[in-house]
Symmetry: C2
Subunit: 430 residues, 2 copies
Amino acid sequence: MMLRELLARMIEVGRLSVAIRSEPSFTIGAVPIDMPQLDVAIRLKDRWAANLLALDPEYQLGQCYMAGSLVIERGTLDSLMELIGRNLKRRPGAGILGRARELTAALRARTNSLGRSRRNVAHHYDLSEAFYRLFLDEDLQYSCAYFTDPGMSLEAAQAAKKAHIAAKLDLQPGAHILDIGCGWGGLALMLARSADVYVTGITLSTEQLRVARDRASAAGVSDRVRFALADYRQVAGRFDRIVSVGMFEHVGAKHYRDYFGAIDRLLTDDGVALVHSIGRKDRGPGFDRWTQEHIFPGGYIPAVSEALAALEETGLWLTDLEVLRLHYAETLRHWRLRAAANRPAIEAIYDARFYRMWEFYLASCEMGFRFNGLMVFQAQIARDVASLPITRTYITEAEQGLHGARPRPQPKRAHARRKATAPETEAAQC
Amino acid sequence: MMLRELLARMIEVGRLSVAIRSEPSFTIGAVPIDMPQLDVAIRLKDRWAANLLALDPEYQLGQCYMAGSLVIERGTLDSLMELIGRNLKRRPGAGILGRARELTAALRARTNSLGRSRRNVAHHYDLSEAFYRLFLDEDLQYSCAYFTDPGMSLEAAQAAKKAHIAAKLDLQPGAHILDIGCGWGGLALMLARSADVYVTGITLSTEQLRVARDRASAAGVSDRVRFALADYRQVAGRFDRIVSVGMFEHVGAKHYRDYFGAIDRLLTDDGVALVHSIGRKDRGPGFDRWTQEHIFPGGYIPAVSEALAALEETGLWLTDLEVLRLHYAETLRHWRLRAAANRPAIEAIYDARFYRMWEFYLASCEMGFRFNGLMVFQAQIARDVASLPITRTYITEAEQGLHGARPRPQPKRAHARRKATAPETEAAQC
């Protein structure tokens, strides 16, 4: 049987039992003493499901789990993912991964026009705010948190992430900030709270726009924090700071030059930008076909060199690059546990199939960060060689100021600052 | 006249007067009020020198200055370089730079065999130790210093550089460290002083090897700090830490995969490496033809994406990338001023032409760092996603411990450490 052969070749650590319909199961491998969780039994609905799984495991694992034709009878989805992850790690490029790589070229070539980008975003981000509240933190941060302490809560880790990013932006009073891919507005509102700055957030999701505007209004900062429905290619004006968190993943490799070209066009002469994105430690498939189809249409996960090669075309400086490892695995674990605790509520909004799809997405991405070379990079960018301090100490210092209760005095700068023009996003207010 | 036309096209800021032989000079441009130093007069020996300069300015400027057929009559070499730098910056890719770019492909393709690498290194680094002592700091650090404070001395900034690198290596007691391109041994000796570690330094310069061994012997640490004459491709064994400072510049673009392949081969499973190298903010010529010919044969300066693309082939993690801007400009300024103060002594060891060559090299490199997109990157590398702490705080903490007088207790690690095998460099002791 094909599936049995595939699993026998693949599994070097851990034990997996597989049953089809009501037939007795077969078992591959053994449970390691130091990893008792690697002991999983699954049951497949019929031989058809088993054959699909053997022919295209990467895609069909998600399909079968979502359809309910694969159920877990011993262990959890989490432990099944760890079992797969640890065995993929041992043979990189082989089996499942090898197949996935073939798809890369096709994904990279995908064009995200303005219209398609809009539809891609609607697919994911126009899901109900009520649903996102069932697994995200209270500020609706839908990107990698920053765990400065292993035991910290998701809320605290998301606050630390915002403080870390704000610190790298080296905020100056009066700065105009553009937030490309502003989500539900949490970061924009935090920046406006932490310093005397003006923020323009853009999103392609009407649902996010509505929520973000309501929040700015409720906080009484609508004069300093504005939101618009706009693509990064449509924004006009110049900004002292540009921040873009968890958006570059959706740009698509064909558009990296457009993206950094937009930053180049929109950044003032002494401006600073911070791009926070999922990346890979090596060139590879990024989002697999299942994730592309159900979760993130149009996305691509770059190796750092792919992103930087596009940045280097602009003449802008890369001024710092931090690689956040395992922070997103921890974030996804928190989201998965919160979603599980709210399963009935999620199924009430959508249905059981949707819940399983979301659960599989969160668990498989967590595996990618733990075992499969996924990470988050924060690329700090500036136009002028001298527009940031020459050591990274200011980041730590600003972060401590933002974290703690004590307010941090804004540093005086020797060089005169041109007054930034008011951002012109009218054209984009479609 | 060709030279006059070239300069008229090129100079948009600053004033340059040019005289040929005893003829009256012509003048291009004007002195800006805020940059009075941009006022330079040069005299060329004959019309032949003027024509050479017009035809191939990037190469011939150094040639003429070195030969003494270009002398500076108003201003300094430094101000001439700044004048050129500020005008190149205004028109990137035009004129001098445009011509230089054509050479890039040829330089990139250059192959550095073991024999050629040996000769390349001898060309530069087998110059007398006595000479290097006339412009470097007392520890003979021949790479970018780290100015945590703008007013600090070269000695202090080089000490800060070593502490910064040691902190990023996250040293553990008993660690075996490989220093690829160890120079005169200063970093290796500092690492051995700051922690209970074993260091193997390799160089291709017999002169550096002699000095490094003498210093280890004088410090009484020859049992823990060993030096060998070896190419990175010849080293055997496995190391917990690998450090390589100012050596990647000499590897040549054709050998980047060999280089990172060697790090991959030599690093233990929980190992960490730190590569400190000159880089460019965009793809470009790196070392120009003059510098290739007289100073660094075989070298190539990469854009960060070029280095990372080779690293990504290995499966190793990039765990952090710092971009040091302007630190090398400051370092080169210190070196140039020290060399100028010791001009008679340098001319006594070599001759006046050699001094002018060296002065031109230091001044033109400083210009590259101030105006022409050169920087230093520190790429921190690990094999395992979890072998370093997940935030960068440990770097700042370790650095403070190394800087200050108070000894820093070595942190305990939860994971057991395999004992590193003694490094086998016998094969390389040629």
